[in-house]
């Protein structure tokens, strides 16, 4: 057990022990969500700011509810309705929020490294809720939590990430977390979206979708990130569906105990057939439930102060 960090910026810099600490802590917070009283006073009197410079619904709501269940006060800040539109810099916006005595700033931004930038001058804790195509640490933590919960372990599992890896911060954070915890990771998709450079991270890269899914214990599907693609990366959506979509024919090739995961939002009929998204092997909605527990754990852990770690009984 070790967590001495003030911020949660990425998975790349976490140790396996720190990742396990978040997952273990999240397990206790998941139990809180199953009680009649779903709230604990851990962050009583703290102020949490959701600074979302890039649109998001599920992640923002998940963080908002997580903060509320920890009894923190929450401010939601979206780019459309803010002074960023009037020319204020991110640094000034963040400093203004801190001047309101914010204790934790949760930031989503289209620019890689924006959370790291804030963490260098803010005294508040910074939590990365997605920065460009770089990282989305709480998504990787909730994905590994879900795998561990369903499979009982992570080490030794075969995980296939299928789809738009190049533009996916979910993929990058997942790759770091899974490799650190001892899983084997295969990336699959159109070669333009799954470049071989990912092999340097320690993944296997293939364009053969049948082969990639046949041996997988977990298939994590990614949405095509149209908003980040500066040019057309494959001929047509129809071609993508026929070559890489998880349809019923391909699903028959998978292991009988495979887990189907998706960070959402899902595009039914594109990366996944509607029936497969709703089948018994799909854990897509478990991911949403677990996301809340993982975000409660993350907010709780970054709120620790400095001093003796163990609460000694005496």
């Amino acid at each position: 057990m070790s967590w001495h960090r003030k911020h949660l910026l990425d998975i790349e810099s976490l140790t396996p022990d720190e990742i396990i600490t978040v997952l273990d802590t999240a397990r206790a917070f998941k139990a809180v969500g199953e009680r009649a009283i779903k709230k604990v006073p851990a962050l009583r009197g703290k102020t949490v700011v959701n600074l979302f410079i890039e649109p998001s619904t599920r992640t923002r709501i998940s963080f908002e509810l997580a903060a509320q269940r920890l009894t923190a006060d929450v401010i939601n800040f979206s780019a459309e309705a803010s002074s960023l539109k009037k020319g204020e810099t991110l640094k000034d916006t963040a400093r203004n929020l801190e001047a309101l005595n914010a204790d934790i700033i949760i930031i989503r931004h289209s620019a890689t490294g924006a959370p790291h930038f804030l963490s260098r001058f803010l005294t508040a804790s910074v939590v990365n809720a997605g920065d460009g195509a770089h990282e989305h640490p709480t998504q990787a933590l909730l994905d590994t939590f879900t795998i561990r919960e369903k499979k009982g372990k992570i080490a030794g599992l075969e995980v296939t990430i299928l789809g738009d890896v190049l533009y996916s911060r979910v993929a990058r954070s997942n790759i770091w977390a899974l490799l650190k915890l001892g899983a084997r990771v295969t990336l699959c998709g159109p070669s333009t979206l799954v470049p071989r450079v990912f092999e340097q991270m320690g993944c296997r890269v293939t364009c053969d979708v049948e082969e990639a899914i046949a041996g997988a214990d977990i298939i994590n599907l990614l949405r095509i990130q149209h908003e980040r693609q500066r040019k057309t990366m494959f001929p047509s959506l129809g071609e993508y569906v026929s070559l890489f979509g998880l349809n019923k024919k391909r699903f028959k090739l998978t292991k009988p105990d495979v887990l189907i995961m998706h960070p959402g939002p899902i595009n039914r009929g594109v990366e996944i057939d509607s029936e497969i998204a709703d089948c018994g092997r799909s854990v897509i909605l478990d991911q949403v439930t677990n996301g809340l527990a993982v975000r409660m754990a993350a907010l709780f852990l970054v709120s620790g102060g400095k001093g003796p770690q163990e609460v000694s009984p005496n």
């Binding site: 057990m1 967590w3 001495h4 600490t21 273990d24 802590t25 397990r27 206790a28 917070f29 139990a31 809180v32 009680r35 009649a36 009283i37 709230k39 604990v40 006073p41 851990a42 962050l43 920890l70 754990a297 709780f300 852990l301 709120s303 620790g304 102060g305 400095k306 001093g307 003796p308 770690q309 163990e310 609460v311 000694s312 009984p313 005496n314």
Partner: protein, 177 residues
């Protein structure tokens, strides 16, 4: 090396627990619904043993559970984040007499947090407190109902409770710096 004195040996720990069990049985009528809840992590083994002793006295099973209080502490920002252990109270506490169990009673902050955590699970009819050692120095108006042994201590001293069967014989030691 810190100087260490034996406060209770294995026999004395067992005797203290047996006496506490009989005091709990005496205080609470046979008919009343008593449950035993250990505070993570020092109270867990004690609560299991007390549960078994009470079951022997009353002749029926006594519900036992474990409670983690990390989420209810008042000092989160004054120390590194504490480890969060699972809470597992597999029965409804509402209407029951819940005996909270911990190994050492010191400042009373853990017990305050435990009462809040317990109230989130339901509304017990009453809460009682059983501890193996009361070392004094309370910072809150909290008093144990059942005490194994009162041990006067200085603030810089430490009480080491060893109850894990896998690690050797039961013992309670007082460590001076």
């Amino acid at each position: 090396m810190p100087e260490s004195t034996l406060v209770l040996n294995a026999t004395a720990v067992q005797r203290a627990l047996t006496r506490i069990a009989h005091e709990i049985a005496e205080r609470n009528d046979a008919g009343s619904e008593v449950a035993v809840v250990g505070i993570q992590s020092g109270g867990v083994i004690l609560s299991e043993r007390l549960g078994r002793l009470l079951a022997g006295i009353w002749g029926h099973a006594v519900p036992t559970g474990v409670l983690d209080v990390a989420m209810h502490r008042d000092d989160l920002d004054q120390r590194f984040t504490p480890k969060v252990y699972p809470t597992n109270v597999p029965f409804d506490v509402t209407g029951k007499t819940v005996v909270l169990v911990d190994d050492v009673l010191f400042r009373g902050r853990t017990v305050r947090a435990a009462m809040d955590a317990l109230n989130d699970l339901g509304r017990p009819k009453r809460i009682q407190l059983a501890v193996l050692i009361d070392r004094g120095h309370r910072e809150l108006p909290i008093k144990a109902d059942f005490v194994g042994k009162n041990v006067p201590t200085a603030l810089n001293e430490n009480i080491q409770v060893q109850l894990d069967e896998s690690k050797g014989e039961d013992s309670v030691r007082l460590e001076k710096p």
